[in-house]
Amino acid sequence: MHFKTISIAKRYINLDLKYKFQLLMDSLVIAGNFIGFGIIGLFLEARGNVLPEGYTFEKFMLTGTYLWTMLARTYDDCIRLLLEEASRGTMILMLESNITITQMIFGRALASTLKYSLITSIFGLPTLKYIGALNVNLEKIPILMLSIICSWIFVIGLSIILVSMTLIFKRIGMITVSVMEITMMAIGFYFPVELFPKQLWPITGVIPFTIGMQIFRDIMILGYPREMVNAVYSSLSMGLIKMIISSTIFITLTIIILKYTVEKAELWGTIEQY
């Protein structure tokens, strides 16, 4: 990671720490997520017996909430980045400190990931421990980390696309929320992907976050990733390869799109206006 990205991440952490009320509110919202989805998990069940033994819907929901909250809040921060810098009047300052928009997004993403990982872990880890969904086997930690990293890359890619749209169209309205809702469905956050119609399996199964979420849940609940999960991967090694390749292709494409839109905004003279 480029040193400038680290410097900018440090700057955002410094800034975030100054807004204590916002930190408190974020923490309460995250705690609320665990309570809300915990209740849903407790009273509902997935149809068709697609979940293996010991894999209650409550565990399914709350492990998903843990990973999702960490990454979705980071997504929110990244897509708000340009609007925030512009409203603070610091956009020119950032550009004049030789920071590219890509570096700004990655810096913001690192800072937000660190912040939300900590907050989510404060509420999430005791909750998962309490419901018996903290069965991580130390040997599986590298795969667990890989699944988190690939999911993170996918989410950053999504935010880069939305930042690119902001650069071109300035205000993109509710599309940011819609993208998140569609993603939540597609990756199987609300219910197992196996419950989707079979025709959709090839699409959902290629999203790195679907694979990452599946592996993450398996390791947290069962202690190991299953060798085969219908609708996600036919073998674990194939799943890992798919996850790495698709996340790499996705982030590369989104960075190319961002570079193009930044050039357009510089040409139109609208890079600092939102």
Partner: protein, 304 residues
């Protein structure tokens, strides 16, 4: 060596993907020598800020080329961005951060330490090392202006682009700041400012812009020497202004709402004006001697 060369540069703005186009600069060409300080003058909007932002690489030209120390903006944009610093009154700092945090960030990004001139500049506005822990939100506007300037100097730019940054500084601080800027070896400066003193102190030459076109590149000292009016007096009246009475006074003037700015040639004219105004004393709210107005000089030059 030429520091900056604009070669037939045209710049249009487009408000978003579906927005309409506005021309900001048309076929602009000029040159700035290495180490020179040049003023850019023109009424608003005439393309002054656009010209500075193009030089800094914040915007890209539609047509033509900008050469900075022999490098084209079309090929070496990153190099140009690294070696220029654009600072304006509109640029904000993160008010929640401390002076130290902001300085450390810039030092880290640029890989440079803050120079003696920066420390001296901060001290002129009463910011000493023990104050570096203060949040930017508690600083005065003058202190923030100087901080914005020194953050740029940490970058060690070859070209400093100042957009109305110095004009509002108090006289003593302004003098010291200008002296420090002049002492930086080889620093090329392009300056837009409403304060004639700033331009007169730093710049030899001036670029005159009108509707996005360069209409003249002249010698600032000569223009100021030729400008017949040496004093500006602003008088604010209660109620409506009697235009006939103003005309009958026989001075060059400009009406701005309830305020009239008189351009006067000598101290004798000031005395005369005061005598005439004394007769209308009860209707006068405010009377002040102001600095020469850059727009008055511009229009006078244009009419010549």
């Amino acid at each position: 060596m030429k520091a900056v060369e604009f070669i037939n540069v045209t710049k249009t703005f487009k408000s978003g993907a579906m927005g309409k186009k506005t021309v900001a600069l048309k076929n602009v060409s000029f040159q700035v020598e290495d180490g020179e300080a040049i003023a850019i003058m023109g009424p608003s909007p005439s393309g002054k800020t656009t010209l500075l932002k193009l030089t800094a690489g914040i915007y890209r030209p539609d047509e033509g080329d900008i050469i900075v120390y022999g490098r084209s903006i079309r090929r070496d944009l990153n190099w140009i961005r690294k070696n220029t610093y654009y600072v304006s009154q509109n640029m904000q700092l993160n008010k929640k951060l401390t002076i130290k945090e902001e300085i450390s960030y810039f030092q880290e990004i640029f890989g440079n330490k803050m120079g003696k001139e920066c420390i001296r500049m901060l001290e002129t506005v009463g910011i000493y090392r023990e104050d570096y822990g203060k949040r930017i939100e508690v600083l005065s506007e003058t202190q923030i202006t100087i901080l914005k300037l020194i953050l740029g100097l940490i970058k060690k730019p070859k070209i400093l682009l100042m957009d109305n940054i110095l004009g509002d500084l108090e006289y003593k601080i302004l003098e010291e700041t200008l002296e420090i800027l002049r002492s930086i070896n080889g620093l090329t400066m392009m300056i837009v400012d409403k304060n004639v003193d700033v331009l007169n102190n730093l710049c030899e030459r001036i670029i005159l812009l009108s509707n996005g076109e360069v209409i003249d590149v002249g010698n600032l000292k000569r223009i100021l020497a030729d400008y017949p009016y040496k004093y500006d007096i602003e008088v604010t009246w209660k109620g409506n202004i009697d235009n006939d009475k103003l005309r009958s006074m026989g001075y060059q003037y400009k009406v701005m709402g309830n305020t009239v700015r008189f351009n006067l040639k000598s101290e004798v004219e000031i005395e005369e004006l005061i005598r005439k105004l004394l007769m209308d004393m009860k209707n006068i709210v405010k009377f002040q001697v102001s600095g020469l107005d850059i727009e008055d000089i511009y229009y006078w030059r244009l009419n010549r």
